[in-house]
């Protein structure tokens, strides 16, 4: 028996897990059309590698990773790509992102599936395979799983996160009940890749059936994994908190679990790794809970890209449903529309009504009762953070460790004044990030400006030197000429453009441009041959691409988040 530790704070919201665990996982029917966002993971968005109109097979790569922290995106079924454009996705901003639209042909025709025997493979090769298969943490943070296998230090404990502490969500619970064997195989693959000895599978004790199923699968596999029932306490499924409970190690702030010799994966990620390695299936589907204000709450195995509306229709939303939440009630996001697509991070969708989740009463002022501080699992002082965020005092907020906040919502859950605390923290965090970004941009601009001034100065000097040299040369030549008494015209140096001639040229160009503008339509490509036009178009495309790259570069500097155990 291993000794369990505890962490500070935590809350016990009503779990509401029973509703959706009554019926087994059901495969959702194939939708007619899928919308697949290219940004489904933490880090850089994937780059499209298919053309509009192209036919793709199930599991075919349609987006390839860009840069080290990125992952692949695959076609979830066979069919035709009909568009690659900006579409609304499940994001609190309701802003659109680049997505591929895939009209399925109903054949579910698989592409090449490369199965591997993991025992013969090195960690490096496994990493490459997971990256190719688009495996990311399915606990919510969607951090690329291959990155988590890369670690400079020795990792001696692998923690598998089956805690699933959020209310309503049961996808991991059902996965463990029904597919424990696959999970255990996946864990063994990850363990092999990490080279660890100890494996601890943490499951909250409100899921006895999942614990039994996992224990049986572990026993049958004869791997020395330990299945540990951990006390039910929100947010016990946060990776760092589960690690604390199971191993007693507190992952230092700003560090990764691997820095203290631990790595953590979600059970669903382990299962996905198993499918990827032993069946050659990239991550094209996941288990998702549909619950809340619906007639038949249950779990579905749905393709990535399935519009949520299709799933909600299967479960039949009740009449008074007025909004939908992706994720749990503590950390989820409200969907901007119900037809946005399922992504790798979507573990649950809750149909919500004002009866189920009554809108909070108007926020009262904070009375510093510190119920939030008692509930905070990170031991922050939420009342101070709120005070600073409210008055835009971001420096102080950072001093009080704002960035250690995991946004679990325990503080707002207990707040007697009903203050939307988490939203204040998110606001403060994104403001601080934006400011840091601006600061870096300003520093860069200063550097460039100073370099430019230095360059101008240098050029001036060089010019002066050249001029002096020329004068000397001219003087010598004059002397020579005088000496030989032969008249030779000094050749005009083409590089020594005087200001006047330059001005004249500009004027001439100006006149030409004006003339052009007056006589012909502004397009200066009218009279070109088709071949030339095609070439120009190609150039334009490249340029647009460069634009995009330039716009994206440095735009997303958000550090990877490790919140809900992935």
């Amino acid at each position: 028996m291993i000794k369990l530790r505890s962490f500070h704070g935590g809350v016990h919201p009503p779990t509401h897990k029973k509703e959706s665990t009554q019926s087994p996982i059901m495969a959702a029917p194939l939708p007619a059309q899928l919308i697949i966002p290219f940004r489904q993971h933490a880090g850089e968005a994937a780059k499209p590698v298919v053309q509009v109109g192209e036919r793709v097979l199930k599991g075919q790569l349609i987006g390839e990773p860009v840069g080290p922290i990125s992952s692949s995106v695959h076609a979830p079924t066979s069919g035709t790509i009909t568009a690659i454009e900006l579409q609304q996705i499940a994001h609190p901003s309701a802003l659109p992102d680049l997505c591929a639209t895939l009209v399925s042909d109903g054949l579910e025709e698989w592409g090449v599936r490369q199965t591997l025997s993991y025992r013969q493979l090195s960690s490096d090769e496994l990493q490459k395979h997971l990256r190719r298969c688009g495996i990311v943490g399915l606990g919510g943070a969607v951090f690329p799983s291959d990155m988590k296998l890369r670690h400079p230090t020795v990792v001696n404990t692998l923690v598998i996160n089956g805690a699933e502490c959020e209310p309503y969500i049961t996808c991991d619970d059902m996965l463990m009940r029904e597919r424990a064997e696959g999970i255990v195989r996946g864990i063994e693959i990850l363990r092999h890749a990490l080279g660890t000895d100890a494996v601890l599978i943490g499951i909250e004790d409100n899921k006895p059936q999942a614990i039994t199923a996992m224990q049986r699968a572990v026993d049958e596999s004869s791997h020395p994994f330990k299945v540990v029932a951990v006390p039910t306490l929100y947010p016990g499924g946060s990776a760092k908190h589960l690690i604390k409970v199971l191993t007693g190690v507190e992952v230092p702030s700003g560090k990764l679990p691997t820095d203290v010799g631990v790595q953590c994966y979600n059970v669903a990620t382990a299962y996905a790794a198993h499918r990827a390695v032993e069946h050659g299936e990239p991550l094209v589907s996941r288990i998702v809970t549909v619950t809340g204000n619906v007639e038949q709450p249950r779990n579905y195995e749905a393709l990535i890209g399935t519009p949520f509306s299709e799933l909600v229709e299967l479960s039949v939303a009740k009449a008074d449903t007025n909004r939908y939440i992706m994720g749990g009630p503590m950390m989820g996001v409200e969907l901007p529309a119900v037809n946005v697509p399922l992504v790798k991070a979507s573990n649950c969708v809750i149909a919500a009504s004002d009866v189920l989740f009554p809108p909070p009463p108007p926020a009262m002022p904070c009375i510093r009762c510190t119920r939030c501080a008692q509930a905070c699992p990170v031991e922050l002082q939420p009342q101070e953070l709120y005070w600073f965020a409210k008055s835009h005092n971001f420096g102080k907020a950072q001093e009080y460790d704002l960035f250690d906040c995991i946004e679990c919502g325990a503080c707002a859950y207990v707040c007697p004044s009903s203050i939307p605390l988490v939203q204040y923290y998110r606001y403060a965090k994104s403001e601080i990030r934006a400011r840091d970004h601006e600061k870096r941009a300003a520093d860069l601009a200063r550097e460039r400006h100073e370099f430019r001034q230095f360059r101008i100065e240098r050029e001036k000097q060089e010019k002066a030197e050249r001029l002096a040299q020329k004068e000397r040369a001219a003087a010598e030549a004059k002397a020579k000429a005088a000496a030989t008494a032969t008249v030779i015209a000094t050749p005009v140096d083409p590089s020594a453009d005087t200001d006047d001639t330059q001005q004249m040229r500009i004027d001439a160009a100006l006149a030409r441009a004006k003339e052009q503008a007056a006589t012909t339509p502004p397009k200066n490509t009218e009279t070109l041959s088709p071949a030339q036009r095609a070439e120009i178009e190609a150039i334009e495309e490249r340029r647009a691409h460069i634009h995009e790259l330039a716009a994206d570069a440095g735009a997303d500097d958000e550090p990877p988040k490790h919140s809900q155990g992935n």
Binding site: P365, W387, F388, K390, S391, N393
Partner: protein
């Protein structure tokens, strides 16, 4: 020994120079927006006040004596002004930001009535040299104490929903008044 302790307690708490004697309000209101600044201001004032009370005792006792009592105020001002000038140069050299932050209030220590008040009170109370030093030091510590407490409260009030017409100096004055009320609780502790 007990006398000295009583002087200290008396000047820091019971007869606090800002809260009870209501001296030195200008820097008290002006440099108490931020905690660090108020601490630095307190330190600078403590330095100036201690030196000023010591040297003014010397000036008064050895230079002026009872015959030239009419010169007390005049010569004290000269001594204080010089001390402040000296402090200003040191601060400017050692901490330019502090110099900038203290701004006009640094030279204004010269006209801080607390700094002139304490040497004069020393003369009035016929303190000896050690007592004068302690009286000056204690007064300055009391000044620093309330400055720091005040700055802490003002920093917290930054986030408060204070009625618009009371924002800034107005609410600070109200707070100073209430602090003064609280300090009256010390009355009678030391005679």
């Amino acid at each position: 020994m007990t006398d000295y302790l009583l002087i200290l307690i008396g000047t820091v708490f019971v007869n606090n120079i800002v809260m009870i004697k209501i001296l030195g309000l200008c820097p008290f209101m002006g440099v108490s927006k931020k905690l660090e600044t108020s601490l630095s201001m307190g330190a600078a004032t403590t330095f100036v006040l201690t030196i000023a009370s010591g040297s003014s005792y010397l000036v008064n006792h050895y230079l002026l004596g009872p015959d030239l009592a009419y010169l007390t105020t005049l010569s004290f001002i000269v001594v204080i002004a010089a001390t402040v000038q000296f402090t200003e140069m040191v601060v400017k050299k050692t901490s330019p930001v502090l110099y900038q932050v203290l701004g006009i209030y640094l030279p204004l220590i010269t006209t801080n009535c607390a700094v002139l008040g304490i040497p004069l009170l020393n003369v009035q109370a016929k303190h000896n040299f050690i007592e004068s030093l302690l009286f000056g030091f204690g007064g300055a510590v009391g000044f620093t104490l309330v400055m720091v407490l005040f700055a802490g409260m003002r920093e917290r009030m930054e986030g408060a929903d204070v009625p618009v017409i009371f924002r800034g100096t107005a609410i600070a004055m109200v707070t100073a008044g209430l602090m003064s009320l609280a300090f009256m609780g010390f009355s009678g502790l030391v005679k």
